[in-house]
């Protein structure tokens, strides 16, 4: 069935003529060879065109210089206890907060049932003292407040997103407001006690 449909689309010489144009009899010899040629040429042409599209699409992906900047090393030594800094990584803010004992204890004590996106604090940090988060609200991408001492930190002592009122706790987990998920923890490694590489 499918086969015969396909065959109908093969250009039949002498059949597809317009109004009164020269009609040429179909050559009875080896129509199968023409069919094969038609399919082969179509397949090769379509494949070539499809492959040729890829470089054009891929040119829109991040370029080599952009990719080369996809890791950033941060020196942690100047950050005092309780202080937070913001660094730029892949064009986005990354929050680095050196948490106090109290903040860590509060984050640890939260029951999983109270969380919209349940995750223990221990799963979100490599070393409890250092909380490292992508500073982008998981709702619609604003930067939450809470980095500067005078900023509002929301109802849970972490961050507060002023755009649509999402509250994050001292582990960066969503507690209240429209955001669906916790602040993202980027991939990072401690190169030494005071040096991390993000990305």
């Amino acid at each position: 069935m499918l086969n015969s449909q396909l065959f109908q689309q093969v250009p039949h010489v002498g059949v597809t003529t317009g109004e009164g144009m020269a009609e040429h009899p179909i050559k009875q010899t080896s129509t199968t060879r023409r069919d094969f040629l038609f399919y082969a040429a179509t397949a090769v042409g379509v494949t070539g065109a499809a492959v040729a599209v890829w470089p054009f699409v891929d040119s829109l992906n991040p370029a080599a210089d952009t990719r080369a900047l996809s890791t950033v090393e941060v020196d942690l030594s100047p950050i005092a206890l309780g202080q937070a800094i913001t660094v730029k990584w892949r064009g986005k803010p990354v929050f680095i907060r050196r948490r106090t004992e109290g903040e860590i204890a509060v984050a640890d004590a939260v029951k999983m049932d109270d969380l919209r996106d349940p995750q223990p604090d221990s799963a979100r940090v490599a070393r409890p003292e250092w909380l490292i988060l992508v500073g982008v609200c998981t709702h619609l991408g604003c930067v939450p407040l809470g980095q500067k001492p005078a900023d509002p930190r929301g109802d849970f002592g972490g961050w507060f997103c002023p755009c649509h009122g999402s509250h994050y706790d001292t582990s960066g987990r969503i507690r209240k407001g429209p955001a669906p998920a916790n602040l993202v923890v980027p991939q990072y490694t401690f190169l030494s006690d005071t040096l991390i590489r993000i990305g």
Binding site: V13, G18, E19, H24, I26, K27, A41, V44, S59, A64
Partner: protein, 652 residues
Amino acid sequence: MSAPGKLQKALDWFDSRLPIITLMKHSAVEYPTPKNLNYWWNFGSLAGFMLVVMIATGLLLAMQYTPHVDMAFDSVERIMRDVNYGWLIRYLHMNGASMFFVVVYIHIFRGLYYGSYKPPREVLWWIGLVILLLMMGTAFMGYVLPWGQMSLWGATVITNLFSAIPVVGDSIVTLLWGGFSVDNPTLNRFFVLHFLLPFAILGVVVIHVWALHTVKSNNPLGIDVKGPQDCIPFHPYYTVKDLFGVGVFLIVYCVFVFWYPDALGHPDNYIPANPMVTPPHIVPEWYFLPFYAILRAVPDKLLGVLAMFAAILILFALPWLDSSKVRSGTFRPWFKKAFWLFVVDCFVLGYAGAMPAEGVWITIGRIAAVYYFVHLLIVLPLLSRFEKTLPLPESIGTPVLKQTVMALAFLALFAVSGPAFATGSAPLRHQDWSWQGVFGTYDEAQLRRGYQVYREVCSACHAMKLVSFRNLSRLGYTEDAVKEIAASYQVVDGPDEAGDMFDRKGLPSDRFPSPFANDQAAMASNGGALPPDLSLIVKARMGGPDYVFSLITGYAPQPPEHDLPPGKYYNTVFAGNAISMPPQITDGTVEFTDGSANNAEQVARDVTAFLQWAADPELEERHAMGVKVVLFLFVATALFYALKRRIWAAVH
């Protein structure tokens, strides 16, 4: 009801409300086409194909390009070096401009030979000329965008043409520039216009095709179609023939893109624009050369400009200048000879336009320019009156002309190599380089040695601003080795919290640091001469690697008769023989870490290889992809040809 039946019903429903399917069917499927069109008729569809390629590649380039005098050049180099397949897209676009003109010029000459401008096709001819004018404007403004030396000075020279207009000329030029010289406002508006005009061309092409489908195609016999028996439907006959033509054309196009991407350009355009220095030989792109030759042939500014514009505008009057009732040159023995003489004349004009305006070339250019007008204004009107034409065949059906693939030979004619300008310098010492040839690749060990030479010798004075440490991984260094190399450099970063700049160890993503803080510092330390940035030096010099190698090894004792200014050194290759750079490379200058021979020749060859790589880092990828693409195109084109023969078997 079967599925195709439902689909047909849905299509009919749509078509009865917006008859776009009927329109397509009428103009691209059923369009009755003379059955005797030869391969010269392929160039119309090829031109349409090139327009699509130029718009597609151009859109993607525009997404990466920055139209600002401080950033344009580097943004183009970023496309070449960092954007995924950016080099491919840019080379397709850059060479595409040349290919577009090749195709369109052949299309025009085909029209000239077969009398396609004669009644009833005068308006069709005019619209085609409008497309040509729009193309010329678009191409000119596109060439300005990379903001190299030729961009800036080409823009300066061409816009200054308008200053020839009496009284208001200077005001018009200032208006075009948006300033008192070609500068940022000019670049910005040229970018906007270069983006806009192709869509204007697209619109005019639609009108061109509309006019064509109203008056129907001419044919090699130039006689009117007598009835339906002379015609065949456009599809499948000419669709498959055009497809085959696209295949052949793509092979030629790809050979340029993958192996000779810069052959049709000028090395000077790889030097960033400098409003203080004009390159010694300003030459437009090859497709403007015949008109440029006409401009230069007239020793008066205004008249020269008028002659140049007249050379194109006069073509609008062609239907009346040549009033012979016989269209096709095939039946006009004298016209045929005059036509080919005119073709030769256009090539002579093109060649004269590329030559320096001195000596015999001035005379040759003038004779050719005069003949251009003599042909159109005197020869054609006289021929159409006095020529005895051959008897025309009764109908198209009677003799179907033999088809030839001479089109290809014509294409080859266009491959004019850039003429070298001798400046009293010694000939270059041609070397066998590993990257030459279809499969040419770099020798990693040689590149690493060359990098060592650059670092230990050249980098004391020469910057390489476009190369990053991360690029060194292409020399075979591991990721850790690249980091180590980067960390061995100090780079300036900042400002820090206190607002001060500070030094830090280099990272792989950093560019090579420059030896001097700025150009002024570099000149102050080098006797007033600016050591050029070496990132693109091989591409930016006529002769490429052979030039660089010959220059490094070209120092010689000063001949007694040669007057050398103080602080200069005698070099056999450098223009004027007096160079500010002292000889740097002697036997043993560098102790190679891999223990290779370190005589001066070898060191020069290695550093040249490194500089070639720095200018052309994508070469290996380009060659490898080119081989695959061309092999594929051969297979596809052969299949298209076989299919074409199959489909046409009934007509022949």
